[in-house]
């Protein structure tokens, strides 16, 4: 008697040997599940497109033209966002102001990360006297209130620094002052986080193992320990972009931040309080741009914090 061999369905080998996910893929997957963070990324990309793409439609010169005959015009087809108290086009100014506001946020963040990581890493890794000195310095810096410092330095230095030209645009010297002051007064929290992580990581056996292979201290700090503490640094850096934008808006609103005619979202609000009811387009447009940007950056920060949390590794499907 003849029996046909039973058909066994063979599993596809490629499916079994699917390589494990890389950390970056895992983080991406978990970030994707955070709906608000994804929305934040989209809004932020739109903001960047708006302030960079806008330059193709409105020239910078146009954003600086003053014409008192059309001052405080309500939004119309010629001036979609209306005009301000000296007749400048608000749409064009939000485009060029956005560039400055976002740039201030980014550069201040980079400054903050460099200073904070450097101080935190050195203090945490070497410990002892260096740690005490750097941490006392950090605490001293924490005692200086940021906003009054911004106001005083903004007032003192703003017109002392010559305007600079970057990427074909001329910036008021006050932009540099604001970036430097924000960057150099907001690294303390990050420095403490980094120090705390270095304190525990330097005792790990892989650090001893690295030392055993003859690796020098700098390489141990930056190549071995620092990548282990990237998650909190990334989260903190993201949130500090939002903080820097807010701080800039705050001092510019008070009239001592970035000096006109250079526009920022913050200094466009300066003076708008005189027309809160009579010309609401003065503050609605730059104000909503600030709120949207800061909100989306904060959501991105939240999403990153959840996505980078190593304890959540198992929860990703």
């Amino acid at each position: 008697m003849e029996t046909s061999a039973p058909i066994i369905e063979k599993p596809v080998i490629a499916e079994i040997e699917k390589p494990p996910l890389l950390l970056s893929q895992l983080v991406f997957l978990r970030f994707k599940r955070h709906k608000m963070a994804v929305a934040g990324v989209i809004v932020l990309i739109l903001m960047v497109l708006y302030s960079i793409g806008g330059t193709f439609f409105k020239s910078e010169a146009f954003s600086l033209v003053t014409d008192t005959s059309i001052r405080l015009n309500a939004p119309s087809s010629i001036h979609p966002f209306g005009t301000d108290a000296v007749g400048r086009d608000i749409l064009a100014r939000t485009i060029y102001g956005g560039q400055i506001s976002l740039m201030i946020g980014m550069i201040a963040m980079i400054l903050e990360v460099i200073v904070g990581v450097l101080i935190g890493a050195l203090a945490g890794y070497y410990g002892g006297i260096l740690d005490s000195l750097l941490m006392r310095f950090t605490e001293a810096m924490l005692n200086i209130p940021q906003i009054p410092l911004l106001l005083v330095l903004g007032k003192l230095l703003a017109d002392k620094i010559q305007p600079i030209v970057l990427l074909g645009r001329e910036f008021s010297g006050s932009v540099i002052v604001i970036i430097a002051v924000i960057g150099l007064t907001s690294w303390m929290g990050l420095a403490r986080i980094v120090r705390a992580n270095f304190l525990s990581l330097r005792e790990q056996e892989f650090v001893t193992a690295a030392r055993c292979t003859g690796t020098n201290n700098l390489s141990i700090i930056f190549d071995h320990i620092l990548p282990n503490t990237m998650a909190p640094i990334i989260v903190s850096a993201t949130l500090s972009v939002a903080n820097a934008i807010i701080s800039e808006a705050y001092v510019s609103f008070l009239g001592v931040g970035v000096m006109p005619p250079t526009a920022t979202w913050g200094n466009m609000l300066n003076g708008a309080y005189n027309y809160i009811e009579t010309a609401p387009w003065l503050w609605i447009f730059p104000g909503s741009l600030i709120v949207l940007t800061v909100l989306s950056i904060n959501f991105i920060g939240d999403g990153l914090r959840d996505a980078l949390d190593p304890r959540a590794l198992t929860q990703a499907e």
């Binding site: 950390l23 790990q204 056996e205 892989f206 001893t208 055993c212 292979t213 003859g214 190549d223 282990n228």
Partner: protein, 328 residues
């Protein structure tokens, strides 16, 4: 035999709030070229501190190498400066740690970690380092080395990680490999593989090995000479046959008695050593093993017996002849 590494009268102390911890108290030994030295002893007896001093990796402070010499290639490692010591670590003397789970950096690929020592010590470019790393992974028996080069430590099993650690240690062809309890965190079958691997590699590249363990079975398998340590002292030193066939120190005897044996009676209880090791801050006068020893004579309470020769190549630190129970 040529002595490759010689430790002379090494004393290491740690300053703590409760007092000075005498972790290593005058340890001397010789590592011969191409041979394996086993260091045995229970937890806290100074094994790891001894080898960490050879690497100069004792944290100072609180630790301090109080006295002694560590002669390697005609130089005293204790007197070497930071940068010359860094050149020796990894290149001439390499180390494998106890727990492969924690001694690999979780965020760097194993390829990067292995090639690092090569890039630090040898003047070679990245592609050459890559090729040698693949060769090392093959050597320690990691299959599909090319595919695993970019894998992270969490993608390896414990035994594989220890192989990676060994590959890291071997990357610059060191003349001494220090293995600090490399098999303690592994299960027995993997343990046997790692021991076998080390023996094979040793015969291939001809290095000396210092193998620290508290597992006498592993020592019997791998060591040529054995040092038994207790409370920071060497209490017995002999070649591996004499340690097992003819132990002359009460501590070694008790250790051997506390091993389960294949031929023992089924319901026999394992022998234990009563008591605990002495507090290394307040060392008792006399022999440190005296409180737990069953051979005590009056002299033991008064004076610490130094290490003395009792036969060719067989040293012990005991006042008593354990065969007769009378003073030696």
């Amino acid at each position: 035999m040529d002595a490759l590494l010689e430790v002379k009268d090494l004393k290491v102390q740690f300053n703590t709030l409760e007092g000075v911890v005498h972790a290593v108290n005058g340890v001397s030994f010789v590592v011969e070229e191409g041979k394996t030295l086993g260091i045995v002893g229970e937890s806290g007896c100074g094994k790891s501190v001894t080898v960490l001093s050879i690497m100069r990796l004792i944290a100072e402070p609180p630790g301090k190498i109080a006295s002694g010499e560590i002669i390697f290639e005609g130089k005293d490692l204790i007197k070497l400066g930071k940068s010359s010591m860094q050149a020796i670590r990894g290149q001439k003397i390499a180390m494998v740690f106890q727990d492969p789970m924690t001694s690999l950096n979780p965020v760097l690929t194993i390829g990067k970690q292995i090639s690092e020592a090569l890039i630090v010590h040898k003047d070679i470019n990245t592609s050459e380092a890559y090729n040698r790393t693949i060769g090392l992974l093959d050597l320690v028996g990691i299959p599909q080395a090319k595919d695993r080069y970019n894998d992270f430590p969490h993608q390896f099993s414990g035994g594989m990680r220890q192989r990676v650690m060994i590959a890291m240690a071997l990357s610059c062809n060191p003349s001494v490999l220090i293995a600090d309890e490399p098999t303690t965190a592994l299960d027995v079958t993997i343990q046997a593989q790692i021991v076998e691997l080390t023996k094979n590699l040793q015969s291939k590249v001809g290095m000396s090995v210092i193998w620290i363990t508290h597992d006498l079975g592993v020592v019997a398998e791998i060591a040529d000479r054995v040092i038994v340590m207790y409370a920071g002292y060497i209490v017995e030193e002999a070649d591996v046959y004499n340690i097992f066939e003819n132990p002359v120190h009460p501590y070694t005897l008790s250790l051997l008695r506390s091993l389960p044996r294949v031929d023992s009676h089924r319901y026999e209880r394992l022998a234990i050593i009563p008591g605990t090791p002495p507090d290394c801050i307040h060392m008792p006068t006399g022999c440190p093993f005296m409180p737990r020893c069953s051979f005590v004579i009056e002299k033991c309470t008064l004076e610490n017996p130094g290490l003395r020769n009792i036969a060719d190549d067989h040293k012990t630190a005991c006042w008593v002849d354990v065969k007769t129970g009378r003073p030696a």
